[in-house]
Amino acid sequence: MPLLEVKGLSAAYGLVPALHRVDFHADPGEVVGILGHNGMGKTTLMRAIMGFVKVTGGEILFDGQSILPASVNARARAGIGLVPQGREIFANLSVEENLQVGIATTGVDIAATVAEVLELFPRLKRLLDRRGGALSGGEQQLLSLARCLCRKPRLMLLDEPTEGIQPSINDEIAETLKVLTARGGITIVLVEQNLDFIAGLAGRVYAISNGVLDRQIPREQLTDPRAVSEFMGFVT
């Protein structure tokens, strides 16, 4: 059974539609990639799954159960984690506190969990006392990823996670995510512009265009930007 199943999902901002009958699924341990030009609805899709965007039609099943009626926090507690575009760091909390927020009330061993995640992001270790808002762009992006991982989500929604991160760390992140998914514990829906990154991780990759997600891009084509562009539709 797929962990996440999106069926005929439509969403709109007010009267302006943004997603049209989107269908896809993600099996446990799988990484599903989504590519698309600016403004095509990638972020909207992620936010709709998380529960931030009003859904006008269709169904979202998580673990076989509809999550449409559930609130955002309920979805999060069910095991969905979001690394949003724009990072959304708690600017006035320290880095350490940012990491703690999601697990503060869960009863897990906070210190141990944070330490465990920090092993994956050594760069953050010496920044623990710094105010979240004072971090550089890339540092914030790392923090955002780490913060999500602290909750040990079963499904991660990553919205351009490599944006602003230096190349070498990108590689490390890719490795880390690969390990995590390989263990089978984590399933990922990945929105990404960095073709290398997505090619290295994703099993299946879809193209989204104007809110319509209907084309799967064969893996072997991913190394060729021209071909990818063709799938996504050229920029007008």
């Binding site: 009267l15 049209h20 403004g39 104007n210 809110g211 319509v212 007008t236």
Partner: protein, 349 residues
């Protein structure tokens, strides 16, 4: 491409309504009603002053009454000691505007923003209020005019024809004059907002960093916006003093500042018509509640305010606009979501 004032039908409609009321009201209504709407007119000018700096300059002032009161007291003292009201009326614009410059310099060059700015303005108004209340003793007089503390200054002259101190305006002339002031302020603000200066103000309201990065001196700009609002508030204070024939420290009160906020909010921030509608609606209501002594008027007014905020969060005018727009779109496109073809890019318009 750009909306100019001259091409906006809303502007002409407002102007027509304003002029029609100005000409017709005194002829059609009894004296009491004329006095009544005179009051709305005066307070509308006050509401516009806040509506401008808040809605179009992003400056949230919790103490707009500071300027209202300052204008009122300036007018009272000057008019009583001079006899003629023309110069006092001008002073009541200039002095508060000058004070607005000073206070604005203090605040904006000190990088105050947000609630902190609100509280500073509120504190300034409170200081005025305290001081004005403290002037009951015989020692407090300016140019021979006793400030009178809590009781305020009585017997303030009505506006007279310039140069003829004895030619006082009768109630309907006074109404027409005030209405003319309101219309003039409205037109001036509309033009100002549509000018480049006004657009920069809006830019600053939206994102100060970017405005500065485009090379606009946001501090100076804000001081100017603030001073204009202060001057208009002062002018309305003078009109108020002359209309009521007295001024007391209540003109500086937190209630007065808060009322201005409520009018603007109820009518809609970011519009100029909104504040005026806010004044008329809420003042009328207050009056009605005082007339029926059935229920405690606080209860009713409080409840109405809460309902207003919850039901019309954006204020009356913007809500009506949005409703009208939505209705129009629906009517044109049939049921929402079905007609817009999926292939058409979102936002391709």
């Amino acid at each position: 491409m750009e909306k100019t004032v001259a091409r906006d039908p809303g502007f002409w409609i407002m102007l027509a309504i304003g002029l029609a009321v100005m000409v017709l009201a005194p002829a059609l209504l009894d004296m009491f009603m004329v006095l009544q709407i005179t009051q709305y007119v005066v307070l509308s000018v006050f509401a516009l002053s806040l509506g401008y700096i808040w809605g179009f300059g992003g400056i949230l002032c919790f103490g707009q009454a500071a300027f209202f009161g300052l204008g009122g007291y300036t007018f009272a003292v000057a008019a009583i000691s001079m006899g003629d009201t023309t110069v006092p009326l001008i002073l009541s614009f200039l002095l508060p505007a000058a004070f607005g410059v000073v206070l604005g310099y203090f605040m904006f060059y000190g990088k105050l923003t947000d609630v902190y700015l609100g509280v500073v303005t509120m504190v300034v108004a409170l200081i005025f209020w305290k001081l004005a209340n403290h002037t009951a003793g015989p020692g407090y007089s300016i140019a021979g005019v006793r400030l009178g503390g809590f009781n305020g200054i009585p017997s303030i002259p009505t506006i007279n024809i310039p140069g003829q101190p004895d030619a006082w305006l009768d109630p309907s002339q006074l109404f027409r004059f005030f209405m003319a002031v309101l219309v003039a302020v409205y037109i001036a603000l509309r033009l100002l907002i549509a000018s480049d200066f006004g657009r920069v103000s809006i830019g600053i309201r939206e994102n100060e960093t970017r405005a500065a990065l485009l090379g606009y001196d946001i501090r100076r700009h804000k001081v100017i916006v603030f001073a204009i609002g202060s001057g208009i508030a002062g002018l309305s204070g003078a009109m108020w003093a002359s209309y009521q024939a007295f001024i007391d420290p209540n003109a500086f009160s937190m209630e007065m500042s808060a009322k201005a906020l409520v009018w603007v909010m109820a009518g809609g921030v970011g519009t100029l018509v909104g504040p005026i509608i806010g004044v008329i609606g809420l003042q009328w209501l207050t009056l009605q509640l005082g007339t029926m002594e059935l229920l405690n008027s606080y209860v009713v007014l409080g409840a109405i305010m809460m309902v207003l905020v919850l039901a019309l969060p954006r204020g009356l005018v913007p809500t009506v606009k949005v409703l009208a727009l939505t209705g129009w779109t629906l009517w044109h496109s049939g049921r929402p979501g079905t007609k817009a073809a999926p292939g058409k890019a979102v936002g391709d318009d």
